[in-house]
Symmetry: C2
Subunit: 242 residues, 2 copies
């Protein structure tokens, strides 16, 4: 199974100015493509921190997705930090430069062209629906932090990420609490080792107390665990399933 | 300046089932208490991963805040993982046990009492407004993942975290784009080294193009940087300030 990590670069998130929103979107794309998102780091706009983390994640995971720090200002240090981390130069990418010149026309200044700077050896993935590519360096997919643009770039990720069996998921919603459910869950977990069983209590929801989830890449195994648990519940339970 | 890291434990976040919501709340409390949230990790419900990360963060930061994995079921492995990581036993905390017996009354079963299990050497912080405490082990504040309960525990964090000068923040909203702003920003950054200057482009917002932020613990220095930048903007700018 392929694995992934996300490196979210942004003082504005650590400082509580904005709520992080890109991991949720990335997680959905990776689930559909069957890639296991196993680690997320949120770090400051600090070149030495970015460089150390990107090297470490790039080594430990099949894919790394960065978010943030790719604009033209002083706090946009992602490209330079990645280049430094791997000992390569920053170069101007010709096709990106052409796109920027065309887009800005007369209004273009030298700072707009900073958006065409990438680590040497980086490549670009394109899709038919957009002129703007996504830059990838080694196994590092470099995405912007602005949520609307991040989501557009995810379309390129989804189009270019090699296909694998997607994760499948079932869920049971019950009015039993976790302490009541624990003996049943322990049995199910022991019987279905290839299924990831999760238990999530709800806070004062009149509709249900606990959500039990069954996840995995083997759809039949997930279904068997789901049915096995379902069959153990007392009369009147579950409230509903998904 | 005191530093903090957050360790968010939850397959449900990495799997895209729910959007992470606790970091934003924690960040606000830490800003008010003058503590620098410098790193956030989102990791799976995996004991070995939790143990390795909690040891590393506990060493590198003044405070660690964990979120998630503190219920009674098989996927609640935070307490045991922390105990293992530091080579201590899990013990039953008497005052917590008493609270649970009182709360559940006749409905209590042995699994409810699992909520009184903590690493040996842990202590509890209480506030007058709630009977339920927050468990702290070394410099690790152990919070639940359920957002409503996480927020209640944050009241205990805020009451017990030693007070430091809070961070202050100013902001300018402008219709200039980042490439136009860059020369001014570079000047401001060079002149005000103790102020953290951030630049955040907006996606297709008719009200403004870029938000510029000024942050620090020295309120006068922040104000000076803010005013210096403000004075450099052309006529009609900024659109507004905060």
């Amino acid at each position: 199974m392929q694995t992934a990590a996300a490196l979210i670069i942004g003082n504005e998130i650590l400082g509580g100015k904005i709520q992080e929103a890109n991991v949720f979107e990335l997680a959905h794309v990776l689930r559909r493509r069957g890639v296991d998102l196993a680690r997320v780091l949120i770090i400051p706009d600090a070149p030495s921190v970015i460089a150390a983390d990107v090297v470490s994640l790039s080594k430990d995971f099949d894919h790394v997705f960065t978010s943030g720090g790719v604009g033209p200002t002083h706090d946009d240090v992602t490209m330079a930090s990645i280049a430094n981390a791997f000992g390569v130069e920053i170069v101007r990418e010709p096709r990106l430069e052409k796109l920027l010149r065309h887009h800005y026309g007369e209004a273009l200044n030298e700072n707009h062209l900073l958006l065409a700077n990438v680590p040497a050896g980086a490549r670009q993935h394109y899709i038919d629906q957009s002129p703007w590519p996504l830059t990838i360096f080694r196994n590092i997919w470099i995405l912007p932090g602005v949520p609307e643009i991040f989501r557009m770039k995810l379309e390129i990720v989804e189009a270019h990420l090699e296909g694998h069996a997607p994760f499948v998921s079932r869920a049971v919603f019950t009015k039993l609490d976790e302490a009541e459910l624990k003996p049943m869950l322990d049995t199910i977990v022991a019987r279905h080792p290839n299924v990831d069983v999760g238990s999530y209590p709800r806070w004062k929801d009149p509709k249900y107390e606990t959500k039990i989830t069954f996840d995995g890449k083997d759809a039949d195994a997930v279904e068997r665990a789901f049915e096995d648990f379902h069959g153990q519940l007392p009369d009147g339970e579950p409230q509903w399933t998904e």
